[in-house]
């Protein structure tokens, strides 16, 4: 399946209007490209390709959370590429690789090919979340999906801040690819979960506004 800039952009515009199905289709299409992109990049920087899935999830999450920064008059793929590359550089910096190891790349490279691993893990998020203990479920939803801070998540879930950190492993230790529980959510499940939270976004005006419903989140 190849999806062009025009198709992806159509999906993005629909998802900004709050269409959950389009949002999910968009994230799925992008995650396949991101997977191929990160595997290639990690291999060429001498890193293990198994870390690619973490990066795919971070990028998908970033695309979801920062979708209000997409300017609808622009092309979509350069925007996606900028996020993907930003996440890659951030990852390499965190894991102490040299930035010089990232070869220059072309803007269309992020969209160059399609790869879909793990399609078999097609649990719906309800099932995924039901399997988790209630505290974990609430923490994961609050921190990973809704982008709340640790303190806000603690308030919502009625837990202490350290309780939230224990229950949402990524938040506890951003950047540790090997941290326990980082596989707790498969990419497809993440996409399904994100698509269950779609609200219309005013892409143009919300940049930098105080009342933006989306909040910055550290990975």
């Amino acid at each position: 399946m190849t999806t062009s800039e025009a198709d992806l952009k159509k999906l993005m515009l629909a998802s900004l209007d709050g269409d959950a199905a389009s949002h999910r289709a968009l994230l799925e299409a992008l995650s396949r490209r991101l997977r191929a992109y990160y595997k290639r990049k990690l291999a060429s920087t001498g890193r293990s390709a198994s870390e690619a899935e973490d990066l795919v999830q971070e990028a998908v999450l970033a695309i979801h959370i920062k979708r209000h920064t997409y300017d609808a008059t622009d092309l979509l793929t350069p925007w996606v590429h900028a996020i993907a590359r930003h996440k890659l550089i951030d990852f390499l910096r965190r894991t102490r690789a040299s930035l010089a190891d990232v070869p220059p790349d072309e803007a269309d490279e992020a969209m160059a090919s399609d790869e879909h691993v793990g399609a078999e893990s097609s649990y719906d998020v309800g099932r995924l979340l039901r399997r988790l203990p209630p505290n974990v479920k609430c923490s994961m939803e609050a921190v990973k999906l809704d982008g709340l801070s640790i303190a806000e998540a603690a308030q919502r879930c009625g837990l202490s801040e350290s309780g939230i950190k224990v229950n949402s492993p990524r938040a506890k230790n951003p950047g540790r690819a090997d941290c326990p529980g980082s596989e707790i959510m498969k990419t497809d499940d993440l996409i399904a979960a994100l698509s269950a939270h779609v609200e219309p976004v005013d892409a143009d005006r919300s940049v930098g506004q105080w009342a933006s419903p989306l909040r910055p989140q550290r990975f």
């Binding site: 970033a62 997409y70 925007w79 900028a82 996020i83 940049v207 930098g208 506004q209 550290r218």
Partner: protein, 188 residues
């Protein structure tokens, strides 16, 4: 973002009026001209820098446009300063450059700039810059410009070389500070 810039400006001006007070001769003709000139310089910086900052706040924004325009106000004031030095006898140069309160100026502008910088960084954090050094630098430049705008109401040194060197220099300092802080403050 526009809202944040307005809030930063109002906060800064309030702070100046309450904390430092305006210069006592603000309403005289000579003062009005020089204050206006300094404000035009500062506003020029703020407008150009914030236009670019808004682009930088989006992923990939740094690839789309050139930041060279931000140099324009600095080039302008340096040119005017050079002309005014050229027209003045060289015995006046030291006085024109150093003014009466150059030390107060280089201390005040960066300190006042902390207020708008905080507001601007908070606003940029809700967006998604992908070049954090440059975004930080432009946040610093905008803040330095806003700070200079406010400080101009208080400062009584009116010579063009003074404005070019001490205002320009401290605003550049704010820009460098922003570039250093950007990667820490803007991570997402």
């Amino acid at each position: 973002m526009g809202l944040a810039l307005a809030a930063a400006t109002v906060l800064t001006l309030d702070g100046i009026l309450v904390g430092l007070g305006t210069r006592s001769d603000l309403t005289t003709g000579h003062a009005v001209v020089s204050v206006l000139l300094k404000i035009v310089f500062a506003v020029g910086i703020v407008v150009l820098a914030s236009a670019y900052l808004m682009r930088l706040a989006r992923p990939g924004g740094e690839r789309r446009s050139s930041s060279g325009w931000a140099v324009l106000p600095f080039a302008g004031i340096l040119l005017l300063a050079a002309i005014s030095l050229g027209l003045a006898p060289s015995t006046h140069w030291a006085k024109m450059v150093m003014g009466d309160e150059w030390l107060e100026c280089i201390i005040s502008i960066p300190i006042i700039a902390i207020v708008p910088f905080t507001v601007v960084i908070a606003a940029v954090r809700t967006a998604a810059p992908t070049n954090l050094v440059r975004t930080g630098a432009f946040a610093g430049l905008v803040s330095g410009g806003i700070s200079a705008m406010g400080y101009a109401l208080h400062c009584t040194d009116d010579s063009l070389p003074f404005v070019a060197i001490w205002y320009g220099g401290t605003i550049v300092l704010c820009t460098l500070a922003g570039a250093m802080l950007g990667p820490r403050l803007l991570r997402w």
